[in-house]
């Protein structure tokens, strides 16, 4: 796992405040109800931060952010390097 993915997992842990839940790269977040859709703005901003990319929000659907692995794959697919 990359450092960025680890940082994202740590960020999500803080966000959901459920110490007993284990999250790995493939844990489903949105469809399992761990993350509510309103928190996704925050996650997308964090993803931009960690990848140094600009991610066009209009090209992202909830399923694209359903796990940490999918988030980084989405960034690769639609993100643009920051100026």
């Amino acid at each position: 796992m990359t450092t960025e993915a680890q940082q994202m997992i740590e960020h999500i842990r803080q966000l959901i405040r459920k110490p007993n839940v284990t999250i790995d790269e493939d844990t489903s977040l949105v469809s399992s109800g761990l993350i509510d859709s309103m928190a996704l703005v925050d996650l997308l901003l964090k993803l931009e931060d960690l990848t140094h990319m600009r991610i066009p929000a209009g090209k992202v659907q909830p399923k694209d952010l359903d796990s940490v692995a999918k988030m980084f794959a989405t960034a690769q697919r639609v993100g643009k390097p920051r100026k």
Binding site: R17, D36, D42, R54, P56, A57, V60
Partner: protein, 564 residues
């Protein structure tokens, strides 16, 4: 051209626009924007019209447009009107919308529209498509490729009394109601509005992030500039909510003069733009930032004004709704909207406005939404159904030369909303000195022991507590059948989790604040860590969803069911 709109229909207005003038500039990314002139926009609209014609879509056919906010969606909309068809723009799915909710909302709205065609873009997510309610005769079409050559189209015979388009009332997805509007009604509204705004196509430029599927975005920021030949600079709501600072960049760069914003945006933007970057933006081109769609709060506008050093008189107000095409009132752009102070006790118990001096203890303040546009009438009705005047507070009913005839395919809802040609807005307000003041939504009102308590007033008081994350407060009334009245329940987010350790102390301070400010006691104060309150798609606290979440977590608060 202020106030003079010499056209019989919206298509004629678009055809008459100067070909070389810029129309829409769409923000795509921080280093990418696309501009089309009126001439180029017309060509794109004709291409879409040709595509619809090819599929047999013609006069009077309803066409649903499900495309991301941008030039292509606007061209599809205008193209449908060129064919005499009736377009309706619906929300495009985005990453913040729960898929299940979106799907059921879309199914409901599309079923009611009985559309002849649904136009989508290439990237419309497959998993949502199954839920677009397609009748046996509905065609699913992909928007025409902008590159293909526009064909010569037969001229559609559009009559000014024909339905031009359907816009949806604001509301929870799925419960949105379609409002069919004629060319003539829309043009009458635009004439009044252009006059009130002193709109000048030679110097004005509109900025917008507002969704095209609501009246503020559709009428003020697309149809108004299209008909009056004014340039518009726009971005999508999701891009704005992610990076609200881009709004300031665009206004600075394009020297925009007019924009409409809901009340919460006046606080949201300053709080998302770091202090050290605020001076980088030049907002001096702005003539008016119009606070629209919710009760207007002076405190919110002052926060924006202080953060960016804009002139006080550019912060304006309006009262608008889809059922009336758009605006009912508009403040006078030459001065800041009037603000009054009224006796709080009289307001809550006797439901009337007794003016007092600014700063009087227990006074409540209101900001005017402006005067009625020409061709508009208003009446205020008490709970008992009597027409009241002289500063009495009641439900606002309107009548105008742009009022809708009814909800599309919903005679049941129409019957509930209309009385003798008057439309019941469901908003509470009053008139003072010829100006309208909006106090809140009738359904949100808390009735505590016979007193009307507006949740916004409690929320503003609680938000003033230093431990509370500003703006993250929801006040609600929960019915207590033992007492036969509603009781106040407040949920607030604290600035940081550490503050929860001294929750009892904070709660007590909040309680005293509410009693001191409003003279009523809150039954329960619930403090929660940051990000607990459910937010709407635009980022503001969502009242009913938060209520549901709270009552699910604390079923003991809900004593309503015991009564049944």
């Amino acid at each position: 051209m202020s106030g003079v709109i010499p056209f019989q229909d919206l298509v004629e207005a678009l055809e008459a626009a100067p070909a070389g003038r810029p129309f829409v500039t769409a923000w795509i990314d921080e280093d990418e924007q696309e501009t089309v002139t009126f001439g180029e926009f017309r060509e794109r609209a004709r291409t879409q019209a040709g595509m619809l014609l090819q599929h047999g879509i013609g006069a009077g056919d309803c066409v649903v447009i499900l495309m991301p906010q941008g030039i292509a969606a606007m061209a599809a909309f205008a193209g449908a009107m060129m064919q005499g068809a009736v377009p309706a723009l619906l929300a495009y799915p985005n990453f913040k919308v729960e898929a299940e909710k979106y799907r059921s909302g879309l199914a409901g709205v599309t079923a009611n529209l009985k559309a002849k065609a649904v136009v989508i873009d290439e990237e419309f997510p497959e998993e949502m498509l199954g839920h677009v309610s397609l009748g046996a005769e509905t065609k699913l079409l992909r928007a025409a490729d902008g590159g293909s050559k526009a064909r010569k189209l037969p001229v559609a015979m559009v009559q000014s009394e024909d339905v031009a388009f359907i816009q949806h009332s604001a509301g929870t997805t799925g419960l949105q109601k379609g409002v069919a509007l004629s060319h003539a009604a829309v043009l009458r509204q635009l004439k009044h509005l252009a006059q009130a705004l002193h709109l000048d196509p030679a110097t004005d430029c509109i900025y917008s992030w507002l969704p095209l599927y609501h009246d503020m975005g559709l009428i003020a920021c697309f149809i108004l500039p299209m008909v009056c030949h004014v340039p518009v600079v726009m971005q999508s709501p999701v891009d704005w909510v992610m990076h609200p600072e881009t709004m300031l960049q665009m206004i600075s760069e394009h020297r925009c003069t007019l924009a409409w914003l809901p009340n919460f945006a006046f606080q949201f933007v300053p709080r998302r733009v770091p202090r050290d970057r605020r001076h980088e933006y030049d907002l001096s081109s702005l003539r008016a930032l119009i606070n629209c769609s919710e009760p207007v709060r002076t405190a919110s506008m002052v926060e924006f004004q202080k953060a960016f050093g804009v002139r006080r008189e550019i912060l304006q107000s309006s009262y608008a709704m889809a059922e009336n095409v758009f605006a009912v009132t508009q403040s006078n752009l030459r001065r800041p909207p009037a603000q009054i102070w009224a006796d709080g006790q009289q307001f809550r118990s006797a439901h009337r406005i007794v003016k007092v001096a600014e700063g009087t203890p227990g006074a409540v303040s209101f900001t005017s939404s402006g005067r009625l546009l020409p061709g508009h009438e208003i009446r205020i009705e008490s709970d008992a159904g009597a027409v009241v005047g002289g500063g009495a507070v009641g439900e606002i009913l309107i009548k105008s030369d742009g009022l809708f005839d009814g909800y599309y395919n919903r005679p049941d809802l129409t019957a509930q909303a209309m009385v003798d040609g008057w439309y019941r807005t469901g908003d509470l307000g009053f008139c003072v000195d010829g100006e309208l003041y909006v106090a809140g939504r009738k359904k949100d009102l808390l009735i505590i022991g016979g007193e009307n308590i507006y949740p916004q007033d409690i929320e503003e008081l609680v938000a003033g507590h230093p431990a509370v994350h500003d703006g993250r407060v929801i006040a609600m009334g929960v019915y207590n059948s033992d007492l036969g009245t509603e009781e106040i329940v407040v949920v607030a987010e604290v600035e940081n989790e550490a503050l929860l350790a001294r929750a009892a102390e904070v709660e007590q301070e909040i309680r005293s604040g509410i009693v001191g400010g409003l003279g009523v006691a809150a039954r329960t104060i619930v403090l929660r860590p940051p990000k607990w309150i459910v937010k709407s798609t635009a980022g503001k606290p969502a009242r009913s969803a938060t209520r549901e979440k709270l009552l699910k977590e604390h079923p003991e608060l809900n004593r309503e069911e015991v009564a049944q």
